[in-house]
């Protein structure tokens, strides 16, 4: 199969702690892959290690047939990887439009992508001149995702998109993620198994810093044993 991203046995340390102790993630092109696992299993660290924010000490990260481990974060991002961090990490001092413009990597990225972005998140168009502080939690999350869509990113890493959002907003967000996955490949960290199972085509389960199981989501849904063992009651 053709993998857009291939993470091979990475080990990441934060300070003296050995957080990732061998994580493999293979992401087929054009799919949505969910990283599952309990709190503190290392899902977010895996995303951060891909982007070089916490560089892996061992192992390889291959993006579009190119080893990217050990590169600077800003260089990795420039290759075409968009990151949507958890907790709606937008720039509160900038307006909605400025938040989007700042993500431009080529001139007029924003003008080119504007219509697509506003078709996914119609709310943002209305709020375009508002500063980030004045957005609600859901709007901030939409903006954080929208920001990652401005540049030509072939891969989107989305961390906990549904965290702390009202059910209505989660549905809206899921629709948007499904739509945007037509344009780029998505890797998703998601605590809410219901959300993850409806979005993702593939899954990787991470347990205590190791990837322990991977496969197709539709097989996992019926595999009550695995779900119970690694994800708790779901």
């Amino acid at each position: 199969m053709d993998y857009l991203l291939d993470v091979q046995d990475i080990h990441t340390f934060i300070g003296q702690y050995h957080i990732l102790q061998g994580v493999d993630v293979r992401v087929p092109k054009g799919s949505i892959t969910a990283l599952l696992g309990r709190n503190g299993a290392g899902k977010t660290t895996t995303l951060k290690s891909i982007l070089g924010l916490t560089p892996p000490r061992q192992g390889r990260v291959i993006f579009e047939d190119r080893a990217i481990q050990g590169m600077h974060s800003f260089d990795i991002a420039s290759l075409g990887i968009g990151f949507v961090p958890e907790h709606r990490a937008i720039f509160r001092d900038l307006s909605v439009e400025e938040n989007l413009k700042i993500a431009e990597r080529k001139k007029d990225d924003y003008v080119r992508k504007r219509d697509f972005i506003f078709s996914l998140f119609p709310d943002l168009k209305r709020l375009i001149s508002l500063s980030g502080t004045n957005l609600s939690g859901g709007q901030q999350q939409m903006l954080a995702i929208a920001r990652a869509l401005v540049a030509d990113n072939r891969l989107l890493l989305i961390d906990e998109p549904s965290e702390g959002l009202a059910p209505v907003l989660i549905e809206q967000l899921m629709k948007a993620i499904l739509q945007l996955s037509a344009e780029s490949t998505v890797v998703l960290v998601e605590q809410n198994f219901l959300v993850a199972s409806q979005l993702a085509e593939y899954y990787v389960i991470i347990e205590e810093g190791r990837s322990v199981k991977e496969g197709k989501m539709k097989d996992l849904i019926n595999d009550k044993d695995t779900i119970h063992r690694y994800l708790g009651a779901a």
Binding site: F74, D75, A77, F83, L94, I102
Partner: protein, 354 residues
């Protein structure tokens, strides 16, 4: 159509234009109040007008200096405790080149430009290695080294050590004694040009990245920005401006005191933008006016205890206008109540500690 856009630009900037008009007319109006005709003011024959021009020149220079600090601290979020070095290097270099080496004014300002770049690179060297308060302390260290150099007796021949640099001969056409009105308009023009440049910079894509870095450098990184170069660009512009302000300071002041190289002078910049409003360009201008006039007024009418009252006023400003004058104006809420609560809270903890 072109007329309409011109009109709307004028209307949008009416506050700025009005301020500008005030400063253009100021020397002449002050002259009129003291019975000097505009012609006399023009020929620098009105003593009182000259005095006010002098005060205004000092304010313009302070405003330039405060703007330069606001760019790195207020917009980019770099807390530097060594900012006075940028200013002092400009001031001393101008004095020494003019006095001891007989440079022309143009050549001196050329050297100032170089010095500004070198200083920014010097700070830039430590930029990727230290962050936050550590950056503040390292820059404080560098500025202290310069301060020690300036007051050392070994270099006294050039710097005048702890007495200060005196006897700089300023070219006659811009001399603060005989051509003060010209110097007034030169500094005013420089301030306006720098202000417009800064306005352009902070509203440019580069400026927005600087704001983003202030808020959260990690987020700027993961968008694919090499934040180091943006911080360096801000530092570069800032140090050039501060060096220019220092050069003008030497031209205007008969003596360059080593105080301008000390930590106190960095605090001056910080104070000015705190008064005016951190992260607002107008705030640096308003802050400079308030700071200088307060200082002058209190010293003149109260005398020795002026600094005590000055300090009390600054504490009050921080308590009641935490966003500074311009910042509070923009928010359109004074919230005096919160200020009282803060003050009472402060006094409460103070009395409990006894």
């Amino acid at each position: 159509m072109a007329k309409d856009t011109l009109f709307s630009t004028l209307k949008q900037n009416q506050g700025m234009l009005f301020t500008l008009l005030v400063f253009i007319l100021l020397p002449f109006v002050v002259g009129l109040f003291n019975g000097a005709s505009p012609a006399q003011v023009w020929l620098n024959e009105s003593g009182h007008s000259k005095f006010i021009q002098g005060l205004a020149i000092e304010i313009f220079i302070l405003a330039l200096y405060a703007l330069s600090y606001d760019l790195i601290f207020g917009f980019t979020g770099l807390l530097s405790f060594g900012h006075s070095m940028f200013f002092a290097v400009g001031a001393y270099l101008t004095g020494i080149l003019l006095k001891s080496f007989g440079f022309s004014l143009a050549a001196t300002f050329g050297m100032l430009f170089l010095a500004g770049i070198v200083q920014a690179l010097l700070f830039g060297m430590v930029l990727p290695r230290v962050k936050g308060i550590t950056f503040a302390l390292v820059t404080l260290g560098m500025a202290s080294v310069f301060h020690v150099l300036v007051i050392s007796t070994e270099l006294g021949e050039y710097t005048g050590s702890d007495v200060g640099l005196q006897g700089v001969v300023v070219p006659a056409f811009i001399s603060p004694a005989s051509e003060r009105l010209r110097l007034y308009f030169v500094t005013l023009t420089i301030l306006i040009l720098v202000f417009l440049l800064y306005k352009r910079f902070v509203n440019s894509p580069t400026g927005r990245v600087c704001t983003a870095i202030r808020e959260n450098e990690g987020r700027a990184l993961m968008l694919g920005y090499n934040t180091f170069f943006f911080k360096l660009a801000a530092l570069m512009l800032s140090s050039l401006t501060a060096a220019l302000a220092g050069g003008l300071h030497t031209i205007y002041q008969p003596i360059v005191s080593p105080n301008v190289a000390g930590l106190g002078y960095t605090v001056t910049a910080l104070l000015i933008i705190l008064i005016g409003g951190v992260g607002t360009l107008n705030g640096a201008l308003v802050g400079a006016v308030v700071f200088r006039l307060l200082d002058y007024g209190l010293r003149r009418y109260i005398g020795e205890s002026a600094s005590f009252i000055n300090g009390a006023i600054y504490v009050a400003i921080v308590l009641f206008l935490p966003y500074g004058i311009v910042g509070t104006w923009k928010l359109k809420s004074m919230n005096l109540r919160q200020g009282w609560d803060r003050l009472l809270g402060m006094l409460n903890t103070a009395s409990k500690e006894k």
